[in-house]
Assembly symmetry: C2
Homo-oligomer: 342 residues x 2
Amino acid sequence: MKTKTSAYKRSGVNINLTTQIKSNIKSLVKKTFSRQVLSDIGLFGGLYEIPKSTKSRKRSAVLVSSCDGVGTKVLVANIMNKHNTVGEDLVNHCVNDILTLGAKPLFFLDYIAFSDIDSKVIEQVISGLANGCKRNNCALIGGETAMMPGMYKKGEYDLVGFIVGIVEKEKIINGKKIKIGDKLIGIPSSGLHTNGYSLARKVFFLDNKFTVNTKIPVFKQSLGETLLKTHQSYLKQVYPLLPYVSALAHITGGAFYKNIIRLLPTNLSCLIYKNKWQVPSIFKAIQKYGKISEAEMYSVFNMGIGMVLFVKPQNVKRVLSRIPQAKVIGEVTKGKKEIKII
Amino acid sequence: MKTKTSAYKRSGVNINLTTQIKSNIKSLVKKTFSRQVLSDIGLFGGLYEIPKSTKSRKRSAVLVSSCDGVGTKVLVANIMNKHNTVGEDLVNHCVNDILTLGAKPLFFLDYIAFSDIDSKVIEQVISGLANGCKRNNCALIGGETAMMPGMYKKGEYDLVGFIVGIVEKEKIINGKKIKIGDKLIGIPSSGLHTNGYSLARKVFFLDNKFTVNTKIPVFKQSLGETLLKTHQSYLKQVYPLLPYVSALAHITGGAFYKNIIRLLPTNLSCLIYKNKWQVPSIFKAIQKYGKISEAEMYSVFNMGIGMVLFVKPQNVKRVLSRIPQAKVIGEVTKGKKEIKII
């Protein structure tokens, strides 16, 4: 019996295309494998051996997992026809998320869904994922390429990432160590990271009819290039400093408010001093061209701060010396789980 | 500084809505938690303690992960306005995938993306996910609810799942134990499971102008209900039998060909005898109304067999006695990694 895929192909699903994509990306993906990866590509799941060090030391090990997308940054990538950066955005976003709990990455899986797309686009996306994984010592162990006729517009795709990392139970960071007087150290973001793109797109492309090629005077690059700047991974800088950190907030959706509040005990608040850092020009442009209140800007965008470390006063100097671009931007006070940005 | 979300809301993103959804589903999700889950909902990641038994016995433990969607079955759920089953479909699909490698589930994360949707729809989807997780002893440890203006049609959503399970290294099942003479035991599917929906939708709704309410004479339920039947989980039946099984194939995208071939060593083939089981009427209807060749049917759809177990002849009786609805449907022969369906 010979297989044909003619009817299936007519329904919009091309199994050969997804098989082709998988074969083309194989070598990229394999470069991310560590010796813990026991599976080859193409099985029903990825196999990852739990690192021996965790077991031999007889300490309890905890898996830390997170799932995320890059929001409508994929639509900006699409307008720019530049698809090799959103993958790294996604990996870095997930890496930072689990870093806030004290974990380092083990492995990553991706999901890419589309209806009708050039296979080269998907290969570019996955090359970005593989780069991101390699830079964060994380194995790209599996994923799903889903062709879904009728769901997505031609040429568009959604991109989802899942990460699993590991932390010793005694070293989990969860906000419980936060104390009055802790300083908030902010590490710069590279731009919007993966957050606020729906609002940014509306302001620039819909309300002001800009294009990705528009040169806004204070920007070093075109608007499109500025919007596509890669979400930073803070793993390499911050992981060695975790013993000196009481808590970490990754400034993503909901910005300072949501991401700091979820860490705070009920009897503490945070004061953040806006004048302690320079807000990058991309945020100023969104605020200006969108006529958006400052209050809303700080509740939607990272405003130039990608991660906030809570650090005891006696450790501040050490942390700042290891991350020269970081700045003290606030402190923990008595209060009712509130964030005041002044 | 007070937060407002007016401009952001106008861009189509409603942070309050996603917060509301998260709060409504909290109790559902918590019911899936085992004592290994160390995190509450709302942190940057889920915390799952590696089961102690794995470590104390000093055997190497391997994490098995998989990522999947339910394809365009979500579009059928949408036409039916019935959203509490696709979540269980997704969990069961992922559970079966890692079961083929010998693993039992530990935890699950979901991703739901939409542009503009009633929050009740998302709550229904997540209630299905929570049910599925509970039934498979799997903690629904995290997830992402992504509101992406401009990506999805009003009322539509995509749904992605990510599972992590565990298996002892010595017990990994990967096809290497398959030998000439092994019998193929097929376990019935409940319908299309999560595969072939683009073709089924084209045949029924586009080419033949049927609706979900159409009664096809041989069907026990309406067309829509028949299409929405839940993907079966084989965990409870099959997991205790793994010591008697050389390999397992989950019959999903690519059906018998792709899912069995990926297991076979290069010097073996499989013969499958079509007359050994009854093809359910839904597949016959797709073939008839779509004028699809039989060859293509067997390469796209599961045709009534949801999972195939490779079993040594001496173990066949034991396996069949424990899964009464299963049948011997084929065998392993000498060959060149081919599937012959005769």
